[in-house]
């Protein structure tokens, strides 16, 4: 056992001296490994980051909520979908009236407008129209103030509820409740502020203003696509609810038995499916790049180790004359190769860290500490693998011929 540690230490020491003697060459050689490890780590960070952010944010859409709209979220036939009739407020009312399985129904239409309070202006804020049931069909609740009421909606009052970010930007040091803001040129009275949601894919989910749907249509125009958010009574009945909604919409639109749906019924699960599709694309693409660069890098390492063996033939001969056995010589070169690659791996981890920080501006990334160890160990394994052949070559040198080698 002591023998083993002596050998490990000695191997590291020899590797260190040998690599220090050829700094530039060592760094150039590890470039492939650096790129490979950077890619692997970066992809891992992105995937971990997205998973973490998405699992939180998709929950926001609710697993027991159905979104009826003109389009299927991940439909392919856009030409056909564009020809479909828009969802109307009458259809919203019909769903509200006829559905047995729905707990709450609310319309949803949105646009972007400049929102201002006195001299403060926020451009391109998401402005949405819905009804009082939205409080049930989405998970956020008013943090201060209240949501608008059935009466607000019925009378098309100019009231609004602010997203958390809009509230904190327009009213940095006072309560927004009761203040008059302008959406475009139209004044609205703030009645509430919704609690914070956070970020999805790096963009704030709190940058919105919600107004009653009737007011929305009157003031901001009717040409915006509307969808219907339907919350199921019971999460287990979500499939039945979907079936029921399909029936209501088809009846409302007088579709014959052979005609296809001219509306889309969407669920969080379809978004999840699409997300997983994208993720597996990233996985496969990323790991392909990483695998190629690691193989190329590994072959580079093997090449330089072969050069190193040739350069140090005399040294090998001497070590053998002094009593080094084959495996000790082999070990020396394998350790050298592993150390070389680990250094490349460490550089790769560092680059990946910088990269992850940069990407974090538009995609969420996380870099847990184990990733650092993983990157370095992974590189070392590549080094060991590609170091075996040169090491065997060195180990098999005949001591006399090696000593005589010039």
């Amino acid at each position: 056992m002591i023998r083993f540690f002596v050998e490990v230490f000695e191997g590291l020491r020899i590797a260190y001296t040998a690599l220090r003697a050829n700094k530039v060459r060592a760094i150039l050689t590890t470039l492939g490994i650096v790129i490979g490890v950077t890619t692997v780590i970066l992809i891992t960070c992105i995937i971990l980051g997205l998973n973490k952010s998405v699992s939180g944010q998709f929950a926001f859409l609710g697993s027991n909520t159905i979104y009826v709209s003109k389009f299927e979220w991940f439909g392919r036939n856009w030409r056909e979908m564009l020809k479909r009739p828009d969802i109307t407020i009458d259809e919203v009312h019909r769903v509200e009236k006829e559905s047995q399985l729905a707990a709450a129904v609310s319309p949803w239409a949105e646009t972007r407008r400049t929102v201002g309070y006195r001299d403060l202006k926020l451009s391109r804020v998401e402005v949405a129209g819905t009804n009082e049931n939205y409080i049930q069909t989405n998970p956020t609740r008013p943090e201060i103030g209240r949501f608008f009421t059935e009466a607000d909606v019925r009378r098309n009052r100019h009231v609004c509820v602010l997203g958390h970010e809009v509230a904190s930007k327009l009213f940095p040091d006072q309560s927004p409740i009761g203040r008059r803001i302008k959406i475009g040129q139209v004044p609205f009275r703030v009645v509430g502020v919704q609690e914070r949601i956070g970020k999805l894919f790096g963009t704030s989910m709190d940058n919105y203003v919600i107004v009653p749907i009737g007011t929305f249509n009157k003031v901001l125009g009717r040409h915006h696509y509307m969808s219907i958010i339907v919350k199921a009574n019971n999460p287990h009945e979500i499939e039945d609810l979907e079936y029921e909604l399909r029936g209501i919409l088809r009846r409302a639109r007088h579709l014959g038995p052979l005609e296809p749906d001219n509306f889309g019924i969407n669920q969080q699960s379809s978004l999840m499916r699409a997300y997983l599709g994208i993720m597996s694309g990233i996985y496969i693409g990323g790991f392909l790049i990483a695998a190629i660069s690691l193989i190329v890098g590994g072959i580079g390492i093997m090449n330089i180790m072969l050069v190193s063996v040739t350069e140090r033939t005399q040294e090998v001969g001497l070590r053998k004359a002094l009593g080094a056995k084959r495996w000790m010589i082999g070990w020396q070169f394998v350790v050298e190769s592993a150390v070389l690659c680990s250094v490349g791996g460490a550089i790769g981890v560092f680059f990946a860290y910088l990269g992850a920080k940069g990407i974090n501006n538009f995609l969420p990334t996380t870099m847990p500490p184990w990733v650092v160890g993983f990157g370095i160990v992974f590189a070392a394994v590549v080094g060991i693998f590609f170091g075996i052949y040169p090491a065997m070559k060195a180990a098999r040198l005949h001591p006399i011929e090696a000593l005589r080698y010039e």
């Binding site: 002596v6 005399q314 001497l318 070590r319 053998k320 004359a321 002094l322 009593g323 080094a324 001591p399």
Partner: protein
Amino acid sequence: MQNSHLIELRDIEKIYKVGTIDVPALRGITMIVEPNEYVAIMGPSGSGKSTLMNLIGCLDTSTSGTYFLAGEDVSRLSDGQLAGIRNRRIGFVFQTFNLLPRANSLHNVELPLVYAGKAVGARRQKAREALASVGLADRGHHRPNELSGGERQRVAVARALVNDPSLILADEPTGNLDSATGEEIMGLFDEIHRQGNTIILVTHEEYIARKAKRIIRLRDGLIESDDLVS
């Protein structure tokens, strides 16, 4: 019987194959070396003295014949076993010193102990003693390129001595040195011999060979003469 001899070679033959042709390098060498002898092996190039030295040094094995080193038959050992024998029994001194250029004297001297599996502390201690015994106690942290030729060869001698070998095997140890430094190194060998070590020296210089106590001359793969130095 062979237990009392340090080296006993019996009918050693070494044949190199060059293509399909057999080239005999040694054609039946029989010789005995006792502990604490000081032997010079001489001969013109092609006489087989390098081959003989490689065999005695366990760097190679003979085609036929037997070789007992300190009572152990080493003529048919495996690669790994020979490495062990070299490590324990033999200290090499080369014409070109063969020090590791990037390692300091101390680490160069330590090297055989590394392969003997000694722990770091013990290694360091023995290496210091060996360096001191060749008069280089203060040069431990110098690298070979910071030392003179004579000093380098002294470091090599210290390395040969450090694992207390049965035999010091020196191949033209003064070949790369000027004559004054050569004399100095030969003086060092004298001293080592006086301390009870066995030395076998390969050289083609008559005046160097005469420092030994016994000269074996080779010609065409056979022993031509084997005389004590008067």
